[in-house]
């Protein structure tokens, strides 16, 4: 991690940008096809958005189960060269010969870290924990999450007091902390590129009528994932943020930003299923709770209809077809009311709830930050497949919104396209 010396590759290796589920999958599939792969991840650990999920639909199984198998494949495969804290600055060239500039930000912790945790005990500073969407804190020296890979600490330079504090340096038995670490530029030569830069949750505060940020008992779907995780800020307890009281009535508001010309014009594709899954989080903890799902169309693409049917058939799950007009708040009680145009009943309805969950959509990570690269993006920031072979292949949510099961398929395909592109020119 201190210095990365890329192996001489002679343009027949593959660059994978993004270490979420799509990027990990693409990197492993390409490496197991015999290619050298550079996997570039901007966070200090792999896993991306899926590492932040409590469960996957439809099996309601933990994401770390599949990630664990993938990380074992990764640890045992010398063909995958991992760069964390790293971002691709530019890609120049043509299929078969790309020059890539990568910036590696300092982790301030080197490869000698054994994750013993002696540093954490002495660190005097707390930082908002981005992994838990700011709902709790970690020390300035932190590990991304308990299943993080690499299993090494990292320092948040925004909050770290630096060398004048230096307590972690003194506490570390292994000389693993280097507060003087500097950013590093790395040049790579690759023959093909897989763009697996993923997504970020749409900024819910931009949807004015849904009042996110005004009332504490309005949370987003990604926040609820962390609340439902044993490793999350509440230890898996789902309670009202305002007063910690139990949640008996919950409203899920679909298309919070999606299918809306003012926000995201496309459908994010996964949020209906996400909310149905989250309805099980609520009901498994409190079988007497009432769950209201406000939706336009209940979108369950692929083979998810039986899952949706199963959840919808549970007592206490109510689907309301209609747009939410307003969310009202009672200062004293902390209670909320959801005002919506119920299209089936044909009138405005007003339902009191304890917690509102906004099913915010997916915005491509490349929406506002795009490295220079030979790829065509639409105005939202999704990478398009124009049919022309540019040697750059998108996978997962960098291409369009999709669920995990589709992203892993998509990434396997992108890995094959990248390998083909290189081998086509070398195999007779």
């Amino acid at each position: 991690m201190a210095t990365f010396a890329p192996p001489a590759s002679g343009y027949d290796s593959i660059l994978v940008i993004g270490g979420g589920i799509a990027g990990i999958t693409a990197a492993l599939e390409a490496a197991e096809l015999g290619s050298d792969v550079f996997l570039v991840e901007k966070m200090p650990y792999l896993g991306g958005r899926v590492a932040q999920l409590a469960r996957y639909f439809p099996k309601l199984c933990p994401p770390t189960c599949g990630i664990e198998i993938n990380l074992r494949r990764l640890r045992d495969n010398p063909r995958v060269h991992l760069l964390t804290n790293a971002e691709v600055a530019s890609i120049e060239g043509a299929p078969g010969a790309f020059d890539v500039a990568v910036t590696v930000e300092p982790r301030y912790v080197n490869d000698r870290c054994t994750a013993c945790g002696a540093c954490v005990d002495v660190c005097p500073v707390e930082r908002p924990n981005a992994f838990n969407y700011g709902m709790d804190t970690t020390k300035a020296i932190y590990i991304g999450h308990e299943m993080a890979y690499p299993m090494k600490y990292a320092i948040d330079e925004q909050t770290c007091l630096g060398e004048e504090c230096g307590r972690c340096v003194a506490a570390c038995p292994y000389d693993a902390i280097d507060l003087a670490m500097k950013p590093q530029s790395v040049s790579l030569q690759v023959g093909a590129v897989v763009v697996a830069t993923g997504w970020k949750p749409y900024d819910a505060s931009a949807i004015v009528n849904l009042a996110f940020g005004h009332y504490p008992n309005i949370v987003t779907n990604v926040m609820l994932e962390r609340m439902a995780a044993d490793t999350g800020p509440t230890g898996g307890k789902i309670a009202r943020p305002s007063d910690g009281r139990p949640v008996n009535r919950v409203a899920f508001i679909q298309c919070a930003g999606s299918r809306d010309r003012l926000h995201l014009s496309y459908c994010s594709g996964i949020c209906c299923l996400g909310s149905l899954k989250q309805a099980t989080y609520i009901l498994d903890r409190n079988p007497e709770a009432e769950v209201y799902i406000y939706y336009i169309d209940l979108r369950t693409p692929g083979t998810y209809e039986p899952f949706a049917d199963r959840v919808m058939a549970r007592p206490h799950v109510h689907a309301v077809k209609g747009k939410v007009a307003d969310i009202l708040w009672d200062d004293e009680s902390g209670d909320l009311s959801v005002v919506a145009d119920d299209m089936v009943q044909g009138h405005m309805s007003r339902i009191p709830v304890d917690l509102v969950v906004l099913a915010t959509g997916m915005e491509p990570s490349l929406s506002d930050h795009r490295p220079a690269m030979p790829a065509v993006l639409d105005h939202d920031g999704f990478v398009l497949d124009t049919g022309e072979d540019r040697g750059v292949y998108a996978a997962g949510c960098a291409r369009e919104p999709m669920d995990v099961a589709t992203a892993t398929m998509d990434a396997t395909a992108a890995a094959m396209m990248a390998v083909r592109s290189i081998r086509k020119s070398t195999v007779r």
């Binding site: 096809l33 933990p62 599949g66 014009s265 693409p301 999709m402 099961a405 396997t412 396209m417 195999v427």
Partner: protein
């Protein structure tokens, strides 16, 4: 192994503060280690000591008592110059002892010592694997010449492999031959796009490494990855070809009158399927079948009501999108026509939403949300649909000239009364195993290309409910797996999930009773029977889970580096305090994929699990033999916990059936215990997930408390 073993005990990461490392070293020496060293950090500088000992003392095995085997795997690889890697056995005294047991306590020390001896026993029992490298034919057989199959063929060929593509029809193209246009895939997502079928077929024709057999049928596949033998029949001739792997892209059939009679199909002449409309559109003649007149009012039914899920519980998004596309066919042909799209939930995910919105602006397209209740002929020759559950409250009646049904797709993975599509010559049957909806895969979410027939991968609608562009990508991805499996076969190495594993099961055949249980329980059909009903292993079909080893009632199945013998040798190393109610001993077999990492996380979070437990990682719970468990009780363990993954329809077992099979075996073990008047609650299967670290301490404590309540094992000391 085990003739010269070096043992390295780490003091770092709090281990030295928690236990007497010197005493562990003494125990290792007494056990017969050739070299014993303690160090501050064997993952860092001290690794050089190990490397030096391996070289100088010609060690053939190394035991490292330190952190979990899940970390620092790359740092603990050692080899004597020019030789194979030295066998490394890890003993987890960091996460599972130092970080999860009270420091300085006698039971903690005892646990560490027991684990160390167990690791040394495992190392001693292990032998070097001799990989099977005899089958590596670099040819992929693609079954089916539709969009997925064509894509798979050209992908594998571009990657350097030879391809044989078998298509049962006279021409390539599959269902895509009948499609007039596809819905938009590029901004602004408004215009229908041509289908580049000719180009895709052209890529094959031009390719030097692709051989196409049309009008051909597959009548058998035997063998294993790297050397499948496929029988192809064509024009009355039969030919056998050897291929390394198979991509199954046999596609789907469209629902017909059997499924769609409720919508009038087969009953009313002017009710047609989406396929019929594709034909009409391609010919430029959209007409009412009854009188050949131009339709003025057309209803397109997305067929997505819940009753349709009886035959296709997945077709939603494809039928929705086909409905939208075909609405445009009609509008383009007849600008005056009115089209009513009847749907329940418009499944237009992603950018399809933009196409949907575009059609909503078309003054000639009307979207009717509801469920078609009846479809009848009316006196004036029109077809009348009654649609209930609409937003208007009361049912809506639509009188139209033509009804188009967006029929669902039914995958053709299995024979289903017809000739089996792959005709596998496997003891376990001719069909590839499918999941509940008839799709042929085994790990729906994380590992979408895994099937239960190693080396055979599915693509297109036989794999998932996919549309055309998705099927093309799917074909490329399945080809990736098909190439990988052959590359692994050349090394004699396993594929997913134990990628790279070299050892495969060996049978001590003199003692085989020909019961056949191993062949029945293998989830991957790796075992066949010979004339004497003895099992025959196909190493490249094997995924190394060890379920056969767990199944064998006479324990004759073992891996060179993993065996019933090794597990039982490990179990024997544990100190067995006698007549001490406070010091019970519980053996825990933990699935190394999920339960074992969860136990590591118990340590990472500095939570605790009972000091009476001794954890043995296993490849899969299914690899635990009944005898291993009953022997443990016979040898004085007070309890045995089997910690593994969820079984059933939504199984989380990486080997599909491991936990389910183990559950059945343990029922038998418990019955035996009852017969012997030994309390059956001594043996329990505890379902867990990898994310359960925060619940495990309580679950395990409850189990330990239960055993304490039952009391010490009366067999102790016998």
């Amino acid at each position: 192994m085990g003739s010269k073993t070096g043992v390295y005990i780490c003091e770092g990461c709090g281990i030295g503060d928690c236990m007497d490392v010197g005493a562990l070293a003494t125990a290792a020496a007494e056990f017969g280690a050739a070299a014993v060293k303690t160090g501050r950090a064997f993952c860092l500088e001290d690794a050089a000591t190990i490397r030096q000992d391996v070289g100088e003392q010609q060690l053939d095995g190394v035991v490292i008592a330190a952190c979990s085997p899940r970390v620092n795997r790359d740092r603990f690889r050692f080899e004597v110059e020019g030789g194979p890697p030295v066998h490394v056995q890890r003993v987890n005294i960091r996460e599972q002892v130092a970080w999860s047991q009270p420091a300085g306590a006698e039971p903690t020390q005892q646990m560490a010592e027991d684990l160390l001896k167990m690791g040394m026993a495992a190392e001693k029992a292990a032998k070097s694997p001799r990989p099977f490298t005899e089958a590596h034919e670099e040819t992929v057989l693609v079954v089916g010449g539709g969009p997925a199959g064509l894509s798979a063929a050209v992908s594998a060929a571009d990657a350097g492999y030879f391809v044989v593509l078998v298509e049962k029809e006279a021409e390539l193209g599959g269902f895509a031959r009948f499609l007039h246009r596809q819905y938009p895939t590029l901004p602004p997502y408004q215009d229908l796009e041509p289908i580049a079928l000719e180009q895709w077929i052209g890529e094959l024709a031009a390719h030097p490494r692709i051989e196409v057999r049309t009008h051909a049928r597959l009548t058998g596949i035997g063998g294993q990855p790297g050397a499948f033998v496929a029988t192809i029949e064509s024009g009355g001739e039969r030919q056998e070809v050897t291929v390394g792997s198979v991509v199954m892209a046999t596609g789907f059939r469209l629902a017909g009158p059997d499924q769609l009679t409720r919508y009038g199909l087969g009953r009313l002449t002017d009710v047609v399927t989406s396929l019929d409309l594709e034909h009409m559109s391609a010919e430029g003649r959209i007409r009412r079948p009854s009188n050949q007149e131009e339709p003025k009012r057309v209803a397109i039914v997305a067929c997505d009501r819940s009753a349709d899920r009886d035959y296709a519980p997945y077709a939603g998004n494809v039928t929705s999108m086909v409905s939208l596309k075909q609405a445009l066919y009609v509008r383009a042909a007849y600008p005056e026509a009115q089209v009513f799209v009847v749907y329940e939930d418009m499944q237009a995910p992603g950018h399809h939403e933009l196409f949907y919105r575009h059609l909503q602006e078309d003054p000639g397209i009307f979207f009717v949300r509801g469920q078609v209740e009846t479809v009848e002929a009316s006196d004036n020759g029109a077809v009348t649909l009654m649609v209930g559950g609409t937003v208007l409250g009361s049912p809506v009646t639509l009188a139209v000239d033509l009804v188009v049904l967006a029929a669902g797709m039914i995958p053709t993975a299995t024979a289903d009364g017809e000739a089996p599509p792959l005709a596998l010559r496997y003891l376990q049957g001719g069909d590839i195993p499918t999941r509940p909806f008839g799709f042929a895969d085994s790990h729906f979410l994380c590992f979408p290309y895994e099937t239960r027939r190693t080396g055979i991968y599915t693509a297109g609608v036989v794999h998932r409910s996919l549309d055309l562009p998705q099927s093309r990508r799917d074909g490329a991805a399945a080809a990736a797996k098909a190439v990988q499996v052959v590359e692994q076969a050349a090394l004699g190495a396993a594929v997913h999930p134990r990628v790279g594993d070299l050892g495969y099961p060996e049978f001590f055949m003199q003692k085989c009773t020909a019961c056949g249980r191993c062949t029945q329980e293998c989830p991957f059909g790796a075992l066949e029977l010979d004339a004497a009903h003895h099992p025959v292993i196909n190493p490249n079909r094997c995924r190394r889970c060890g379920i056969c080893m767990g199944a064998c009632p006479v324990q004759i199945i073992s891996f060179p580096d993993y065996s019933v013998h090794a597990l039982s040798e490990m179990a024997k190393q544990v100190s067995m305090p006698e007549d001490d109610e406070e010091q019970l001993r519980i053996l825990v077999f933990a699935c190394e994929n999920d339960a074992y990492p969860a136990l590591d996380m118990v340590g990472f979070n500095h939570l605790a699990y009972p000091a009476t437990m001794r954890v043995v990682p296993v490849r899969c719970l299914g690899a635990v033999n009944s005898v291993t468990v009953s022997d443990a009780i016979a040898n004085g363990y007070d309890g045995v916990a089997l910690l593994g993954c969820k079984a059933g329809d939504d199984y989380q077992c990486h080997f599909i059936q491991g936990s389910e099979l183990l559950g059945r075996r343990m029922t038998n073990v418990r019955e035996t215990l009852d017969r012997l008047a030994l309390e059956s609650e001594r043996v329990q299967v505890l379902e867990t997930t990898i994310a359960d670290a925060h619940r495990l301490p309580e679950v395990l404590q409850q189990f330990a408390d239960g055993i304490a309540a039952v009391g010490p094992n009366p067999m102790k000391g016998f």
